[in-house]
């Protein structure tokens, strides 16, 4: 156990050294969420000031954008941290070291969280200061939303990283594109009932749906839907298990196919 923790600490140090080596990388973590927040923040201000029927949904829109960004950036943080190993042709060094796949995955999860916090905290404070929208007012609900979204982002990150190991850099674009598939299905900006009836079970099979429904219940009705969060957590446990199993199977498949040694060439 101690050896395992040491190896994870070594990997965390490796990613810390990488972040530290370039202020541009650090800036980039904040830049995209900040720009996106500015656009949606101005829209929020416009809707709020217009006193139209959309006023009540303006805050919900901004909350949805912030939470979607947690999911999106969480997955990107996981996948990009892994892709760094491919880009630097370092994967074989790691695979030949005593580092176990579970330890690599845990290190990527930790780094995804750190990157997420670096990118998200300044943006949420900016939103509060510029647009008066305080997402921290959601209290424990926000914590439950974040935990569930981060767990989902890790499950997806594991599958994306496994695909890159199996298929090589040809699968790199999955890191950007896979989340877009979820966007219409997990009801970020509209309730589940807005979907066609046949698509609603699909939406309920996706963990982010529970979070966004929970967020709407909280912002519109002031109710924390613990039932949704518990269901979501259970579903996340399944998805995380599936994600890790997929990662291991794809790694094993890559060892059968060959190419791990020359990956990134």
């Amino acid at each position: 156990m101690r050896d395992s923790l040491n190896r994870m600490a070594a990997m965390t140090a490796r990613y810390y050294y990488l972040l530290r080596s370039s202020w541009l990388r650090l800036l980039e973590l904040i830049y995209w969420p900040a720009m996106q927040m500015l656009v949606w923040g101005f829209l929020y201000t416009y809707l709020y000031d217009s006193k139209s029927s959309m006023t009540s949904t303006a805050g919900m829109l901004l909350g949805a954008v912030l939470l979607w960004d947690v999911l999106f950036r969480g997955q990107l943080g996981f996948s990009f941290t892994f892709l760094e190993e491919i880009w630097s042709r370092n994967l074989a060094n790691l695979m030949m070291s005593p580092l176990k796949p579970a330890e690599l995955a845990a290190s990527l999860m930790l780094m995804s969280l750190i990157r997420l916090l670096i990118g998200t905290i300044p943006v949420t404070i900016l939103t509060w200061l510029l647009f008066g929208f305080n997402i921290y007012a959601l209290g424990f609900g926000l914590f439950a939303f974040l935990v569930n979204l981060v767990l989902t982002s890790w499950a997806i990150g594991l599958v994306v990283s496994g695909m890159v190991i199996r298929q090589g850099l040809g699968a790199e674009s999955l890191a950007y594109s896979v989340m877009i598939l979820l966007l219409p299905l997990c009801c970020v900006y509209y309730p589940v009932w807005a979907l066609p009836a046949w698509l609603q079970p699909v939406a309920w099979s996706l963990t982010p749906t529970y979070v966004f429904e929970g967020m709407r219940a909280m912002l519109l009705d002031g109710v924390f839907r613990a039932d949704l969060m518990v269901e979501c957590l259970a579903l996340n446990a399944v998805y995380l298990g599936l994600g890790f199993t997929t990662f291991i199977l794809l790694l094993s498949s890559a060892r059968h196919r060959g190419g791990l040694l020359t990956m990134g060439e």
Partner: protein
């Protein structure tokens, strides 16, 4: 290994030329060799990249794995490292099957390959620190100091690895490969990017390491003088198969050649 010299022929498409002896093998074999490769095959699609390769590397020996481009050396080394799973056969290191139980021995071995690089943005010190901790080196800082002295890394220790010259990178990669004082070291073209002077300097460091540690080294190279200088034994591959094995001098005598270079060229043409 009972069948170290056996080349089963029931599936063979290309029988070995009778003139190519493949029967020499290390004789001072201990009960458990450091590396044991048995009936090793790897098939990609319809192509056998490695075809029934058998050899052992006794503990403390330095063995050269030679062959032209596409001979199957890198695939063989990748299977010995456990990065590629054999289609048939097995590769064992320190008694562990590398396809199934590689994590039992990974902390006791290490490797260096031109296909692999250290993270370019990290400094040399940071890279050695990360790998030292990954390999569970007890006093990483002291070990880095030793390697810094051995490989004259003092001037470049705090420079980004990506900004180093090819020769400096090779020295750092070899230093990384020795960070855990490995019992088994796999080297793929360790001096390929070095000038002759630096190459000899690295060879002297490897010899010193091998003698001090009693380590086992499997070395892939195209540099025949290097192989003759470093290796106790040589395995020559062509088209995925072993076409000759023996001590360098024995091979030169057996094939009536001037040196190992000539042996290599001869075997590459006839095999």
């Amino acid at each position: 290994m009972s069948n170290i010299e056996k080349f089963p022929s029931d599936r063979k498409a290309k029988p070995m030329p009778a003139s190519l002896p493949v029967t020499d093998t290390p004789t001072e074999v201990e009960a458990e060799p450091a590396i044991a490769v048995e009936d090793l095959c790897k098939k990609y699609g319809s192509h056998w990249a490695v075809d029934e390769v058998n050899f052992i590397v006794p503990k403390g020996w330095t063995v050269g794995l030679l062959g032209g481009n596409g001979a199957g050396k890198t695939t063989t080394i990748a299977m010995i490292m456990g990065l590629v799973i054999p289609t048939v056969g097995s590769a064992k290191v320190l008694g562990c099957d590398m396809a199934q139980e590689r994590h039992k021995v990974l902390s006791r071995m290490n490797f260096e390959s031109p296909y692999v690089a250290l993270p370019a943005r990290l400094t040399v010190r940071e890279n050695l620190m990360v790998f030292g901790r990954l390999y569970g080196v007890s006093n990483v800082k002291a070990r880095i100091e030793e390697l810094t002295e051995d490989f004259e890394l003092g001037d470049i220790l705090d420079r980004a690895t990506g900004r180093l010259s090819a020769g400096q990178k090779t020295r750092v990669s070899v230093a990384k490969a020795l960070i855990n004082d490995p019992e088994v070291l796999l080297l793929d073209e360790p001096t390929a990017s070095l000038d002759p002077d630096r190459a000899e300097w690295v060879r002297s460091r490897l010899r010193a390491f091998q003698q001090r540690r009693g380590a086992t080294i499997l070395l892939s190279s195209h540099n025949m003088p290097e192989v003759e200088a470093l290796c106790d034994f040589v395995v020559i591959m062509s088209k995925g198969r072993v076409v000759a094995m023996g001590r360098p001098k024995e091979l030169v005598e057996r094939f009536k050649c001037e040196d190992l270079d000539e042996v290599f060229i001869y075997l590459a043409r006839v095999a």
